[in-house]
């Protein structure tokens, strides 16, 4: 499992290829990518992502470790950026590798659900006329519940 928290940009294609070629027994690789999107008014200038360095990697490791106990996962990759990002830039990616696609898809979704509300990142949107901390949604928390059944 590879967990990286970084300020620099990364290249989705390169990361995915490297990840996919690591194991010979994984027939399925699923990737998810989070991208900075503009608001409806088209006024987003940048997004600032703050994190809690001492806690971030620990939290991500524990989420990925749990995914490994739930699915036949051969490998997982999480790359999450922090700092100042512009519209269209890649914020983060998750990749999962498993023998079959069901495990890879479900594990990727699980990782995303937990990453959203259990990994210590906070997003701030800077638009041409104001700045706002992105609020967590009730649905984010609700999404975690379905995995505990």
């Amino acid at each position: 499992m590879d967990i990286r928290v970084q300020e620099e940009a990364f290249w989705l294609g390169e990361e995915t290829e490297k990840f996919a070629s690591k194991t010979s027994t994984s027939g399925a690789v699923v990737t998810f990518t989070g991208i900075v999107r503009n608001n409806a008014a088209g006024t987003l200038e940048r997004m600032e992502i703050e994190h809690y360095p001492e806690m971030t990697e620990k939290a991500l490791q524990s989420i990925a470790g749990e995914a490994k106990t739930k699915w036949a996962l051969e490998d997982a990759l999480v790359v999450h950026r922090f700092g100042s990002l512009r519209v269209g830039e890649t914020i983060m990616m998750v990749a999962t590798a498993a023998p079959h696609r069901k495990d890879a898809f479900e594990a990727a979704e699980f990782l995303m659900d937990f990453l959203k509300s259990r990994a210590p990142f906070w997003k701030k949107e800077i638009t041409s006329d104001d700045t706002n901390w992105v609020a967590a949604k009730d649905t984010d928390e609700a999404a975690l519940k379905r995995w505990t059944k």
């Binding site: 999450h80 210590p120 906070w122």
Partner: protein, 81 residues
């Protein structure tokens, strides 16, 4: 102990971290103590249901004891991904 603040909690209080000398037994006691200091703390802690707390980098709760804890962090619900 070290007390850390993130996102709008950090902005409202006006600093990212500080060393706090306290005899507070629980997180809630520490919040009461900090809130009594100055208006900016009271404003940040006005509604703790809007906040989360981590003790030594593990998510915890406001009724958790502080015995043996070295680092307390207060922040709004996380928005990763």
């Amino acid at each position: 102990m070290d007390v850390l603040y993130f996102a709008w909690v950090r902005e409202r209080i006006g600093l990212p971290r500080e060393v706090v000398e306290t005899t507070a037994r629980t997180v809630a006691d520490l919040v009461t103590e900090l809130s009594a200091r100055e208006e900016r703390y009271a404003a940040a802690f006005a509604d703790v249901s809007a906040l989360r707390v981590a003790l030594d980098q593990e998510l915890s709760s406001f009724d958790a004891p502080l015995a043996g804890v070295r680092e307390v962090a207060f922040f709004p619900p996380m928005t990763g991904g």
